[in-house]
């Protein structure tokens, strides 16, 4: 990897890290999701500075094209995040449904209460 590539990658990784943490501070991003992204961007910095880590890890694991290790690892991480999102989405969907039901039932109870009130007024 050239020095320019190393520097660019480090700067981008650090930039994203700061941006994500800032979004948390601004309350635009929940800290649990921030953690998810930091797990990816933070290790990128040492990898960019010492690319030999990848080669050595590849050699250790017996992968003959070490960068493939990086690609498969990052696809796995992204896959994990996406699956996590569908899990969160399912939870959100069932919660919105519950909220809709709750409001409808509250409305019905309010109607009942108002009707009971009217009845009392007339008698």
């Amino acid at each position: 990897m050239s020095a320019v590539a190393q520097i660019t990658l480090s700067v981008v990784a650090l930039g994203i890290t700061f941006w994500v943490v800032r979004l948390v501070g601004l309350r635009r991003l929940r800290s649990k999701y921030a953690l998810l992204w930091l797990v990816i961007t933070v290790p990128l910095v040492p990898l960019a500075v010492f690319p030999a880590i990848v080669d050595e890890a590849g050699e250790f694991l017996g992968v003959n094209y070490p960068p493939a290790l990086l690609f498969s690892l990052s696809s796995l991480l992204l896959l994990g995040i996406v699956i996590h999102y569908s899990w969160e989405l399912s939870r959100l969907e069932s919660r919105t449904r519950r909220l809709g039901e709750e409001i409808a039932l509250l409305n019905a109870r309010l109607d009942d209460a108002e009707r009971a009130d009217d009845g009392e007024d007339e008698s």
């Binding site: 700061f18 948390v24 501070g25």
Partner: protein, 237 residues
């Protein structure tokens, strides 16, 4: 304006009745139970005791339940709020001391089981070490020498209730530790009051400590975010 006791409760039918009976002894304290989506008879226990009960449609966690309770307190014109757990760990006998600290001018009074003159309370090794780290985290970010940063037994003044009803961080650990940081940074006065905590009166304690590392990292990110944007008024939610 009165004092409101916010009591978050998640499946606490076994201990809630006793807690409510003890709270009823305290003059001028209006209790509200926040039923955090319990599947047992928690709401029924509150109703039978004639205590207001806010029922959440699903489980929001301790932080979410407390936040709901703070909003109820504001709706009911509370002057001060004290948070008391439904599992019987918090001794209502200490409520008076917490409220007195607020009356004396503090904005957030934290019941500490480890302060000098507090009762003895045993915690296991890992938990104890984690608590020390969290206390140190509070001290290094705010200068406030916390001895029990994770204690949920607290009283707060009206301005802090108003602030937290908007800004309460609902995540576990953030709901106790980050709250101290936020309240200090917003310029409010925080103090500790020694209390004696008891074993829970019934039911089961949460298994949350298994997720301690995740929760700790999440807390760090949250606090780092606040420091990075130099939040004073808490930003917006």
């Amino acid at each position: 304006m009165s004092a409101v006791a916010v009591i978050p409760a998640f499946n606490e039918e076994a201990s809630l009745g006793g807690v409510l009976a003890e709270i009823a002894e305290i003059d001028g304290l209006v209790p509200v139970v926040v039923d955090d989506g319990s599947s047992d008879g928690t709401a029924g226990v509150a109703r039978n005791a004639g205590v207001a009960c806010v029922r959440l449609p699903f489980n929001l966690g301790v932080g979410g339940a407390v936040r709901t309770g703070l909003r109820w307190a504001l709706d009911h014109d509370a002057g001060t709020v004290v948070i008391v757990d439904a599992d019987g760990q918090h001794d209502p006998a200490d409520v008076a001391a917490l409220l007195a600290a607020i009356d004396a001018g503090a904005d957030l009074a934290i019941g500490s089981r480890f302060a000098a003159d507090a009762g003895d309370y045993a915690v296991g090794g890992t938990r104890r070490r984690a608590m020390r780290i969290l206390n140190r985290l509070v001290r290094s970010t705010t200068g406030f020498a916390a001895t029990d940063a994770t204690s949920g037994f607290r009283a707060m003044s009206r301005p802090v209730v108003e602030y937290l009803a908007r800004e309460y961080p609902v995540e576990y650990l953030a709901d106790t530790v980050e709250v101290i940081v936020l309240v200090r940074r917003a310029g409010h006065e925080v103090i500790e009051v020694p209390v004696s905590m008891r074993e829970r009166a019934g039911g089961v304690p949460s298994a949350r400590r298994f997720r301690l590392v995740f929760n700790f990292l999440r807390l760090l990110v949250g606090i780092a975010g606040g420091v990075l944007v130099g939040r004073r008024d808490g930003g917006r939610s």
